[in-house]
Structures are given as C-alpha cells and as structure tokens.
Symmetry: C2
Subunit: 353 residues, 2 copies
C-alpha cells in the first residue's frame, strides 16, 4: 500500500511559484520564466538546473497570473453557452467545438441555459469575468444587445442554432425553413393531404421558421392549413405524446391527419410513443425535425430532417478562431443545409378511404 497516499494524513505542500523554482535553481525569476516559455538565450546548464527544480517542486505555471501580465491577455479558454449539455444536440455541438479548440490548445468553459434568459446572461457574465477569449452562444433570450459591450471589448462572439436579436454578429444556423418545407413536401409526395404540425414553443425563432416552412410547403402544394392540425408550444416528450393522442383520437372520421410533421427531437419521440400506444405507428406517416440516436432501429424506422450539430459546432468554432486571429470582416450568417433522411416512417401512404 505504499503507493497509496491517504488524503487525511497527506502532507500539505502549497504550490510552488516561479520564485521558489528560481530560489532552488539559483537563478532569477526571469530566467525561470524564459525556460518555462521556451525562450532562448539561456545557457544549457541553467536550463537543466531550472528543469530539475521544476520537477522537484512539481511546479505548475499559474496561467491566470501569466495571462494577467502578458500583453495579449489571452486566457486560452472560450465559453460555450448551450441549451442543455445533456441533450444530444448540445453535446454533439460542444464536442465539435472542443475538437477544434483542442487543436489550438484552448480549453472550454461550458454551461446550460435551459431556455432561461437570466441564466444566459449570468453565464455570459461569469465567462467574461474570467476573461474568456471568445464566446459561442446558443441564444435563448429575446434580446442579445447586452452583448455589445463584450464585442466592443474585443471578445469575439459566434451564435449558434438561433439567430441573435438586437445585435449583428456571426452566426451559424440550420436552414430550418427549407428543412421543414422538404419534410412536408415528402409527405405530400406519397399522397398525404392532411398533415399535422407539432411544434415547440412558438416564441423560439427556430420553431417559428420551421412552422413557416410547413406553411409554405402547404401553400406550394395547394393544401389547406387546418388550424385543428396545428399544435404549438410542445416542449417535452409528454406534452407531445398527449397532443398526438388528442389529435388522433379526436378525429371525426375522415378528418384526422394522416401524417405528422414533428418540429423537434423530443416532440418526435413523444409522437412515436403515442403512435405506438395507439397501435398506429404503421398507418400514420411521421417525419421529425432533427435526427436522434437509434432512429434507424425503431420500427418503422423514423424518417427525419437531419441537422448537423457537429458541423455547426465545428464551423462556429472555426469562425471564432478566425476572429481571434484578427479577421475583422463583416459578420457572417452561415446556413447549414439539412439532410432529408427517409427511413420508412415518412413514406407510409395515407390509408385509402
């Protein structure tokens, strides 16, 4: 057990500083600094002496102090404000950001907002107080104007998933409207004329855009927009399941929808749950917006309009680092295409009357 240390009795050894290393190596602090930062102009003997002292003392440079003093002031960390680190969309995006940042040896501070404006602001504030070099934000509040001060201070800012309001800045978005339009067109292609819309909170811009795409496609196909087939403000699996059940139960014969467009991940899953409970999963068509793991193992396999959260994260991070490298060009608005993935559930034809 000698290799095990017991914290209760573990000797407390405060962190060594440059000063300690310098004292042990018998050189000035500046010389240690030079060795640590790999600057040249130090004789090999001194380098050795310093190296030895460093490892003997388990010296770890203090990056905060370093950043404070350095002219650039860079902390080599960026902040990432996302909807919910536990959901697959956010976490895939985060991971992609991490991969880009990692190449630049930059760390990631991350936080979830859960659709809470207060939290968005609190997180941004906490990040900037730590002087992150840049921010990636999936905005949730109705106004991002409060971020102007950060931009003016030179902290680059890239928005993802949703367009910021009250501030012109780089952003990377899915082409929500076009994706939703595609979905409805595909359903119409197999003959559906009564296509329901199940949507997220109507005030979320992405939900709005997807609804716009839905409406546009109906118009293009000359299909009527039946208010009874439109449900907004579904935000959880249970919400969606209940709404789906209501929609299909309440069908005055021949008037119920024969296909469903679910405008979001959790809504899609809720709809599937309901369809399975009603035994209708093979008779009502379904296309969901946003892919999800295992969609292709369900029966029927679930057709989706896939977003690409990794790509979104990658592109956003790369944009951010371009800005950090000095790019002062006009702010960009990058629209990522969606992919229509037909797996089965979207190709179910309407029942012949």
């Amino acid at each position: 057990m000698t290799e095990h240390a017991d914290p209760a009795t573990m000797p407390y050894r405060p962190r060594a500083t440059l000063r300690d290393v310098a004292a042990m190596a018998g050189v000035s602090m500046k010389t240690v600094s030079r060795v640590v930062n790999g600057e040249n102009g130090v004789t090999p003997q001194k380098v050795d002496a310093v190296r030895q002292a460093i490892s003997r003392l388990d010296y770890r440079p203090n990056l905060s102090a370093s950043a404070l003093r350095r002219s650039s002031g860079r902390t080599a960390a960026i902040g990432t404000v996302l909807e919910d680190l536990a959901n697959p969309f956010s976490s895939a995006l985060l991971r992609a950001v991490e991969d880009v940042a990692n190449e630049k040896r930059v760390l990631i501070l991350a936080g979830s907002v859960d659709e809470d404006q207060q939290r968005e602001r609190a997180l941004v504030r906490a990040f900037t107080e730590r002087r992150v070099d840049g921010l990636i934000v999936a905005p949730v509040g109705e106004d991002q104007g409060y971020l102007r001060a950060e931009m003016e201070a030179g902290t680059p800012l890239v928005f993802v998933d949703r367009q910021p309001q009250g501030l012109l800045a780089d952003c990377v978005l899915s082409d929500n409207e076009s994706g939703a339009r595609q979905a409805v067109h595909r359903l119409a292609d197999v003959g559906h004329r009564r296509i329901a819309y199940l949507g997220d909170l109507a005030l979320i811009p992405t939900a709005e855009q997807r609804f716009a795409g839905y409406q546009r496609a109906l118009l293009e196909r000359g299909l009527p927009l039946d208010p009874a087939h439109v449900v907004h403000d579904l935000h959880t699996v249970d919400d969606a399941a209940r709404a789906t059940t209501a929609l299909l139960r309440g069908l005055g014969d021949g008037n119920g929808p024969t296909a469903i467009f679910a405008s979001q991940n959790l809504v899609t899953i809720g709809a599937i749950t309901a369809l399975q409970d009603l035994g209708l999963e093979d008779s009502v068509a379904l296309i969901g917006f946003d892919d999800f793991p295992l969609a292709d193992l369900l029966k029927p396999r679930v057709s989706v309009i896939a977003q690409n959260p990794s790509e979104m994260g990658r592109v956003a991070a790369e944009l951010l680092f371009q800005r950090l490298d000095g790019d002062r060009g006009r702010p960009q608005r990058i629209l990522l295409p969606t992919t229509t993935v037909l797996r089965g559930s979207g190709e179910i034809p309407p029942a012949v009357p």
Copy 2:
C-alpha cells in the same frame, strides 16, 4: 438598423479596469473594490457614484486578477475530465455536475479524453495550470499516481466511473459486478443456459468487473463458461454488430447462445442492429449494461441494467464541494447500485429444442 452594431466598424473600447472606474467616480480603487464585493463601510453617495461609473464603463471585474490576490485563491471553477462529452453517459454526468456547481456559483471546464492516457494528463495539467478549485476525473490511464502532486497542493479530486490506480482518493462508481451478475441471473431465470458475453476493451476496469459478474453468476447457476461465447474488446457499434453476427451465424446447430449479455451501451446497440439484420430480435434474449434513450421504444423493448450517470455526477460533485468546504476525512469509495429494467428483450425464453 440603428440597434445593430457592425463589428467591422464597431468602436474598439478596451475593457475598463478598477482604476478607470475609480478615476471616473473620483474615489480610490479600494473603494471601488469594496463596492464591487459588497463590503460595507462605504457611504451611499460613493456607492452610487461607483455604480454609475461601473455601468457607464461596462466594467467587468477580472476574476483572474481577483483570485490571484485573494487569500483563498479560489477561482470558482472546477475541471471535469470525461470519456467523451458527446456520449450520453458523460453528458448526463456532466450536466449533473453542472447543476450542483451552479448552486455554488462555480463554473465548469470540461474536456474529453477518448480513452487516451496522454490526453487525460494533458487535460489535468491544463486545468491545474488554470488553478481550478477541484477536479472530477473519469480516469482512463493505468496509473493516476501523477495526480498526487495536485492533491498535495490541496486540489480536491473525485474520480468517477472508474477506480483510480496508484492513488487513494474519493471515487464514485457503479456496482458493475453486481449489475452484470443480476443480468445473467435474470437470463438464467427464464431458462437460458448458453449466455454470451459481449464486452468492451478488456483492459478497462469496468469491463473487467462486469465480466467478473458474468462469470460469478454462471458459477452460481452451475452453468459452464464457454470461451466460444465470450467476446472481448468491442468498442464500437460496428465491432459489436460484427461480433454478434459471427456468434450467431457460427452456431453449430444447438450450440449457439440463446441469450446475450452486452456489457456496454454501444455494444448493446450493435447487438440489436445485428439481431434485427438476422431477424432474430424476438428469439434471442438480450440484456445490456447501461440504459440508453429510446430503449423502451424499440421492438422488443430492450431490457437493461441501468446505471445512473446523473446520480454519479451529483454525488461526485457534492463530495468534491464537501472537500472544498474543508472535509479532511478518509477518502470514500461510493458504489452506486444499478437498476434492473426488464422491458421485454431480456425475458425472451430460449427456443424449445
């Protein structure tokens, strides 16, 4: 468009410091510091003047400088080293850590290691160089002794998911062996005598423990351990799918396994893919270790031994904060129980010969 600022032409205004605020408010820096930190002993007029200057200058305190000077030296940030931020286990754990940290107004630095020892060390180093107040680590390397220096320096450390080696420290783990044992017992309960084991990389301690549980249960049931029914080192969905196919195809009639225990998330999914491809999903029983989203929407619904990553994160974070609050007790090893969730796939009986 007046509310839109264009970064290309946006005025650059460097961040205001305490000094700037003090100058504008006509007081000393110390007084500003007092106001910012809510200390009392400042007349209301001065407080007002300072507040005004702060908002006029968009002053943001510099927490790095603050931490540097403060006696505690706390940075109000913790580092979290996980397997892969994009996988559901890691991200649920991270989210739970975030929730606990959030209450204490502590931020999270996060990174993925991808089974790479180098990366584990690099991340820990990067975190400690930023003087995080504590670390939560899902260790991947074979020796965590290198962390002793950090512990001695007073940085609390909690391991999750896997036990550290070469270092005695707090850790929070799932009861892998018992969970795996349960799984095999449940399969034996419905009559299976040829139960295959599909395992992750054998050198991962959790995989080892799960295999131990599998072996133990076989022993307890008096079932033979058939090497042909044991496959190790599966780490991806594809690996697992191939292995499953091979296992079931290669069945000399009457010798193939009638049930499968899949020791990990991705392996379970791979096995399901293969079973579906072979049309055997309703005839070969399956229990997977670790729950996954939508397991209860598949057909058959997938039985699992569920871990509780959120709970793991929550408990680990709380332990960490206890240590930060000064608890110097002996290091704890917390075993979280698993839950057996029988949904259908695990209750399929063996085909009658």
